[in-house]
Symmetry: C2
Subunit: 307 residues, 2 copies
């Protein structure tokens, strides 16, 4: 089946880097992703530049993105003000984040779970009225760093809430990379009947090496969109790669190999990993990166030896 | 369910290293694996020391292994002479390898597929008579480096042959790390009904990053034994980690997280990865290794910061 791969590197990846990239550099990375066939990209966030300097100038960035009817550029917003900034900058896809535990919301944005749910619901409803696709992330959907394991029923409840408010998509997010395939199945068995697999996406980090196993389980249940970041960009700048998003090249290779259609050739992603490395100064590359690099070199006739 | 993890590092891992370890060092690695709870270990092979100097002295190694009724030490043999050497050295579990394509057998051991099948069958039958467990590897079971994709019906045919000859176990081996979850399902859907999931094991390499996804699919079909190597030991010494076996720590963490019982604490594997690194001089560690190391350090109170 057709599966969409949504590269969140320009937002989720870059926001946690020690180095702040210029708007030019961020635009360059996004243009390269589009060039390699990515049609869904989380381009940036509309947040306070004091809180997240890496995302300053996202409005300017949006004005520079290669215009295309085929590419969906999303902007993440923390509140209604962010929604207004995003739509004023031309964003047609807006992401909101609803962490499904109270402590995570308190620690992260100093709001209760109920308050955050109200804010997200209001943005979703407004987007629905204004023709803006609002996608709702359900963060820490498997495990919360403060409250531990999350009850799948809680995830289903907020999925239902965002769905009935008119969310264009619900994204089940394993924010801290703690999910395993058994949990993914448990959550999807509850959520898929509520909102439909075609309205779902999953967001995994590869911290414990299980992201591709989780994606395998999810795609088998009909989920046809996944977040990833080029080269696994993301995570703590002090331990590169440790907690990054699952790498786009790994996800594309897995899905294509399984017979799904991502519309992307994973070999075309190799130079993008190098570009992201150059821009950020951080060593990158998913589990398949070495093999992909070897295959690409063979194809280009640059090298013959494969170990 | 109970799932056995079989560490093949001392054989499949070490045989491809540039550095040849002493019998002492090999015994040290095996003792450490036993100490961490491994109950299934491929300890070495009984092959020509000229062809594979890394495995010279495996008979001496077997005489030194910590005696235990609970640990199954396997020795790989290429032919009947190897079987005799292995059993003379006290091996109670013997592995044979049947590559399921003609070209792979010709290139690897200069025999036809039929000839190799005959040799393996004879060893399996003799073991059956003599009370020696003979395990049959079906190598290149998904893709052959010479003949390309392998027909699952061919794998099923040789699984049936080895099973009817009395093999203690059939191991479906993705020798070159090419399998994806769709293929694993196709092969198991044919092979499980033939021999029973309890007589099957799977052997994956993580070359393309899909080993844990493949294991997830296989364990869901009732396969309850998997090969792995500590730290991902194996592969080409010139590109460390590139084509190694899936890492034992990754497999144990995945299976335990999914609610299966391996009898092993993945945190206990962290010092073993360091030991294997010291012994081989090669950087090692699976996808979860950094996270496991952080968790272990936290537990030991050695460090507080987790990125």
């Amino acid at each position: 089946m057709k599966v969409r791969v949504n590269d969140v590197g320009p937002r989720d990846g870059l926001q946690s880097q020690g180095k702040t990239l210029s708007v030019d550099a961020r635009a360059q990375l996004i243009e390269a992703l589009v060039g390699a066939g990515l049609r869904n990209i989380e381009a940036g966030s509309f947040v306070s530049p004091k809180a997240v300097p890496q995302m300053a100038g996202t409005d300017e960035l949006f004005s520079r993105l290669p215009a295309s009817d085929k590419v969906r550029y999303a902007g993440l917003v923390p509140n209604m003000k962010g929604y207004q900034l995003a739509t004023a900058a031309g964003a047609k896809v807006v992401n909101v984040v609803l962490s499904v535990t109270d402590t995570m919301n308190q620690k992260n944005i100093r709001m209760s779970l109920d308050e955050t749910a109200d804010v997200c619901k209001a943005i979703v409803e407004r987007g629905h009225l204004e023709g803006v696709e609002v996608q709702a992330y359900l963060a820490v959907a498997f495990e919360c760093p403060f409250e531990g394991l999350v009850d799948p029923e809680v995830v289903a409840r907020y999925a239902r809430l965002m769905h009935s408010a008119g969310a264009a998509k619900i994204i089940i997010a394993d924010t801290i990379g703690a999910a395993n395939p058994t949990q993914v199945r448990q959550v999807l068995d509850l959520v898929v009947p509520e909102v439909g697999a075609d309205r779902l996406s999953c967001h995994f980090h590869d911290t414990r090496g299980m992201a591709l196993a989780n994606i395998t389980v999810a795609v088998d249940r009909g989920v046809c969109e996944f977040d990833s970041s080029i080269g696994g960009l993301g995570g703590c700048p002090f331990s590169p790669g440790a907690t990054g998003n699952v790498a786009t090249e790994d996800v594309v290779l897995l899905l294509n190999s399984m017979g799904h259609d991502t519309g992307i050739d994973p070999l075309d992603l190799v130079p993008l990993v190098h570009l992201a490395e150059e821009l950020t100064g951080v060593p990158l590359g998913g589990k398949s990166f070495r093999w992909l690099s070897q295959q690409r070199a063979k194809l280009l006739g640059e090298a013959g030896h494969v170990g």
